[in-house]
Amino acid sequence: MKGIARSMLTTLSTFARKPVTRNYPDFHRPLPKTDRAFPLLLWDQEIDEPFCTGCHACERACPVECMTVLMKDNPNHKSVGGNSSRRKIIDKFWIDYARCMRCNICVEVCNFDAISMNNTWTGHETSVYDRQDLVMDLQQLLSQSRAGQIQEWVPVIGQTND
């Protein structure tokens, strides 16, 4: 009976401890900046346009082929009297969140730091009733960064703290 008594004392000790539950819908635990929810497109705030030039690099690098990129000539380019230095710019952009495996590769391959992983809670609360709603188009992908609601963190592979 000794061991049984010991087990029961152990459970009793946990009975005395405080609950560890994170009361989710009421309390959102702060996420680390490295958190990877889903990829988002970033918005270039000074020149009012997305960073993305539609270079298809991420599309090719995505292991599950869940991105679709269409580029166009930038109407805002200097050559046409704009103030942007991007000759090409993204026209249409879809990411199928339903297939994305959150591997961060698209962020790493992007030469323009135009895409980054959503590390806010909005990136995680994405339950839908229809699969089609999980295919994000350009506006949805840009809106959060455009509104500046993203603590942007674009990792550089192999970067050290110092």
Partner: protein, 217 residues
Amino acid sequence: MAVTPAEEAVATTDAPEAPTTAPEIPSTVPAEEPIPVIIPGEHPNEAPRLVPVPHVPGKALYKQILPGVMQVPLDLVLAASRKSSLWPMTFGLACCAIEMIGTYMAHYDLDRFGIVPWPSPRQSDVMIVAGTVTKKMAPAVKLLYEQMPNPKWVISMGACATNGGPYTRYDRVLQGVDKIIPVDVYVPGCPPRPEALIDSFLALQEKIMEERKSTGR
């Protein structure tokens, strides 16, 4: 829903065979005959596995005998109670199942919402398809879904269950569980965080309250 005999054949081939009476392994084709290259998704034998399960809602008797005005409070009470005691079936398929278990545990504690897992489909309301549904597993998933009594809901958790996810290019993997059973809520992510799963439960509760007019579920 009537099962095609083919499906029963498929399902029963999973029955155990004594090693002694096992048939000759079919994968030993003599090399003379060419290797059959079969376009994935069009395998002759996998058609019966992929027959979708229709959801027959069924009608409650009080819907038929009570006048409409008296149904409203009943609907409300029933829907409220259903949404606050959703019992999932303990059914883990792959990696996502780990996060699902984690959601039951102390840090996230689905019990707060009255959600407790039950081992048997007979006592469960929700089926959380947590993980990759292979074509070998599909008949079992269908059977389990059918064995759940009405009203029943399905949460497709993770990329694999939603559309094959990372493994969608492999032809033994089902490209989305909604090919075989009706899905109510999709949770993206690979795997979704426990919070995402809780969020999907909240979404499901909203859905229940909305669709309480139809006793289907």
